[in-house]
Amino acid sequence: MMLTLAASIGLLFAAGAYMLMRRSLVKLVVGLVLLGQAANLLIFVASGPLRGRPPLVEPGEQVPPPPFTDPLASALVLTAIVISFGIASYTIVLIKRAYQDIGTDDLTQYNTTDR
Amino acid sequence: MSLGINLLLALLWASIIGPFSPANLGVGFVFGYIVLRVVGGRGNRPRYVRQVLATLSLALFTAVEIVLANVRVAYYTVSRLRNLNPAVLTVPLEDNATDTEVTLLAILVTLTPGTLTLDVIGNNEAMLIHFMHVDDRTEAIKEIKDGFERRILEVTR
């Protein structure tokens, strides 16, 4: 059932990777954000979520009615989303500073620290 | 206004947090009050009880207007484009219109289909509105003024 979702994940990864290989600084961040989304989605989809079955305990019950979407996977994704958010925000500001101070967004010009 | 918001906040709180009990409502009120104190009293002082009716009238009018107008826009959407006559018109506002009134009017104008507030001109003197379809300019302006503006003023003044 999830083959389409697997394909979507592949697409997101590919898109992220593609953007990561551009010469433009902004595209780099776009690539990172896309890769983050892709990884989050991967964890979620790989865990085999079920449509409309959240892991919530209904009032009067003691456990969520089975079957339900893997709550641990959701928790992992939530943590990962938050972390991606923090890192992406930082990265966005980083490229802004880099562009301002270095004066170009062409990554081929970012080659002074290696040699 | 503040009190109204406060009550609404209490309601919001009580409804969502759990059972609809007085204690819960009370806690909600206190929270709402604190929040309002924290974010500062920019709104006007609570003044009106008598406008409740006017408010209801405005709400009802808006609801009807929204539904009717939506049907109208639905028609515009699927009709032939060349039958449409869009327009950008300046609608003068009542003197000394307050920010709240202007905001409310703008929201309602925008909310109802076929009209869209583009800008407020000068110091709340007039409003620039985009119409999807206008047969008669003056009629259209009059509709706004008689429909929403009047009813809003009834609520606020």
């Binding site: 938050v82 923090g86 925000s89 | 919001l12 924290v38 920019r42 709104g43």
Partner: protein, 146 residues
């Protein structure tokens, strides 16, 4: 942003968002929500305020220095696990008390995980607010400075 309409609605929306954020925080343990979304929601409220009235006003409205708020949130979250540790249990083990508050039909369960979530809330509020206000301030300075 110098729009009467935007500013007026912001005045109304901010308290709503803040209350909503606390609601999200508190009911998070039982329903979708939690400290993180709550904190983001609160920060969004202040972000809205900053957009409408500028960063100076937003900072005044929050009152607490966001950097301190970050530290505070982190300390609360970190410390919330300590009581259990001092009682010889595992760090971060949840401790719960049942409060029979008047007017509430069911006893309220209050526990250290809630404190933890509050820490999360405060931290997220502080951090997100700090980001947005700093950016806005920087943009403002850059525009006026040059």
């Amino acid at each position: 942003m110098n729009s009467v309409i935007f500013r007026s609605s912001t005045i109304v929306l901010l308290p709503f968002m803040l209350v909503l954020s606390i609601v999200v925080l508190l009911r998070g343990h039982n329903e979708p929500g939690g400290g993180f979304v709550g904190g983001l929601l609160a920060a969004s409220g202040f972000a809205l305020h900053a957009m409408a009235f500028g960063h100076v006003s937003a900072r005044k409205t929050l009152r607490i220095d966001p950097r301190v708020l970050i530290g505070l949130g982190l300390i609360i979250a970190t410390i919330s696990g300590l009581p259990a540790a001092f009682m010889g249990k595992a760090y971060l083990k949840g401790l719960w008390v049942e409060l029979n508050a008047p007017g509430f039909p069911d006893p309220l369960k209050v526990g250290t995980p809630l404190a933890f979530d509050i820490g999360v809330y405060l931290l997220v509020l502080g951090a997100a607010f700090l980001m947005i206000v700093t950016l806005e301030e920087y943009r403002h300075d850059a525009n006026t400075g040059s």
